[in-house]
Symmetry: C2
Subunit: 350 residues, 2 copies
Amino acid sequence: MKTVIAVDAMGGDHGPPVTVPACLDFLASHPDAELLLVGLKEPLEREIARGHSPHVARLTVILASEVVGMNEDVRTAIRTKKDSSMRVAIDLVKEGRAHACVSAGNTGALMGTAKFVLKTLPGIDRPAICAVLPTRTGQVYALDLGANADCTPEHLLQFAIMGSTLVKAVEGKENPTVGLLNIGSEEMKGNEVVKKAGELLRRSPVNFHGNVEGDDIYKGTTDVVVCDGFAGNVALKTSEGLAKMLGDFLKEEYTRGVFSRLAALVSWPVIRRFRRRVDHRRYNGAALLGLRGIVVKSHGSADRLAFATALSRAASEASHGLLERIGQEIARLNALAPAAAPGAPKVEAA
Amino acid sequence: MKTVIAVDAMGGDHGPPVTVPACLDFLASHPDAELLLVGLKEPLEREIARGHSPHVARLTVILASEVVGMNEDVRTAIRTKKDSSMRVAIDLVKEGRAHACVSAGNTGALMGTAKFVLKTLPGIDRPAICAVLPTRTGQVYALDLGANADCTPEHLLQFAIMGSTLVKAVEGKENPTVGLLNIGSEEMKGNEVVKKAGELLRRSPVNFHGNVEGDDIYKGTTDVVVCDGFAGNVALKTSEGLAKMLGDFLKEEYTRGVFSRLAALVSWPVIRRFRRRVDHRRYNGAALLGLRGIVVKSHGSADRLAFATALSRAASEASHGLLERIGQEIARLNALAPAAAPGAPKVEAA
């Protein structure tokens, strides 16, 4: 069966000049995939023609008359822009015409619209944003990275189940470890919500490693790191800020005078290898987990390579049956340990 | 008047072999300072003799018979180790024999003992940990970095006042800007505590910039960043983990084969300049703000340069009359805008 992805081609800082070439690259590397490219007629057709791709047969343009702005309020987006490229892409998932959708549009509007159109999965109270980050030993899936500023312990348990199911599904790991982001490794550390979440996780079927601290994210201590959207967003943005500052400082030092520029030239292969290892474009594409449909959010500033990475993530999540697996895990949680997880999400009839 | 600093010479991962040479360096660079070196007789006298310093006349050894372990519980430290080097150093501040104290011992025990012995300043409910971080444009003071996992909006307002007073006092900045760490710049963003803290800050005499995000820390958007101890600790530890990973990756790439090693050799002056710019040792020494005494916490793994930096911070805070200034600012808050700050700390009779 072909995997069909709906793409909000208008979203992000760059729009079609980046999303369309990325889509063509994606089709070239995914011979079993089809794309539904959603957006305004003129820019899409222009960029598709410019691409001279032999894969256009697997690409269908779906017209949308509007675009959700990068700073647009979620309510405005939902109420007044019913024919936006973002909304139409999500509708295609709702209607079963696409297995997943991808957008580089604004996170708030995307999450809000996706929740409004698709609703949450049975047993999940709140969708969460789950991204992949590089670590010393590979990569880590972290959630929630900003959708839910206030969380209950039960929400954190649900995030743990969704995150570990995602890793099982797309990475093929049998029993992924889950760490709870905290400010110390001991059980009694942290705020009230985190302490109670630790209790729930210890009694759940999740492979719970225990508390982890901020530095464990990059150590790769666990396969999944769970946190509320406030702490997760702080960790993510702080990391972005620090990486950018260090990169800029390094660049400044390597361009300070003739000798430094020579050193940069000699170091170029080394620097290129280093940059490749931590290239954020290779980690682009955050899953909006917990919805009745697969939605992947690309970074707004994504370039061609980064946007193609986000498309690949969506395809992988769809082809590995992520939604069904999350449903099964939630059911398993309730069946295996009903008494042991008093705050566990209930499974409703789907 | 000489500034007298009490030093817990036994604390930290290394103890006297690092703390004593750092103290001698500090005395050499601070001709108006005196040190009270607290610890076990034998290791202190050995390291002092080894230092051959002409400044030993300004150094007094104060004996303490015990050492608080790096993983020791705060209750154990307070109840059973009344003659520990940490406790005696804090007692010296309480007794007025020292203007400040410095320890590289464990943070929990240091904060707990300092609160128990010194108590909090009038108008301050909770002491906070305030550290200095490098930014693109200079440096930023961030608090709380881990003392208070759960905070009220009023606590965050108190942190803002203490942080901005610290910057005024030691950096000589007239009207330091304060940012509230959040997950978006708009007023309605964030969790409930942060939203209410934003309201309090907008009505306070603090020079409130508004919300800042994680990446603003390193951009240097404001002079002070205020957050609860959970988010602050996550930001700090995540930064440490990322910086370590990037440093290790760079090192690995520069030692991968002969050509890379040659590039490293050629780049050495550049790399040295870069490392100096972000050298965490130059930022060592976190203020435990809000106590009736100046207490500075050095990183446990601090080396000689880093520990000397922490001593300099303590001396600077003492000589700039930090405690009196915090007291004045709290009084000013209540006098200037009593109606405007309903949740503001009350000034008790000192």
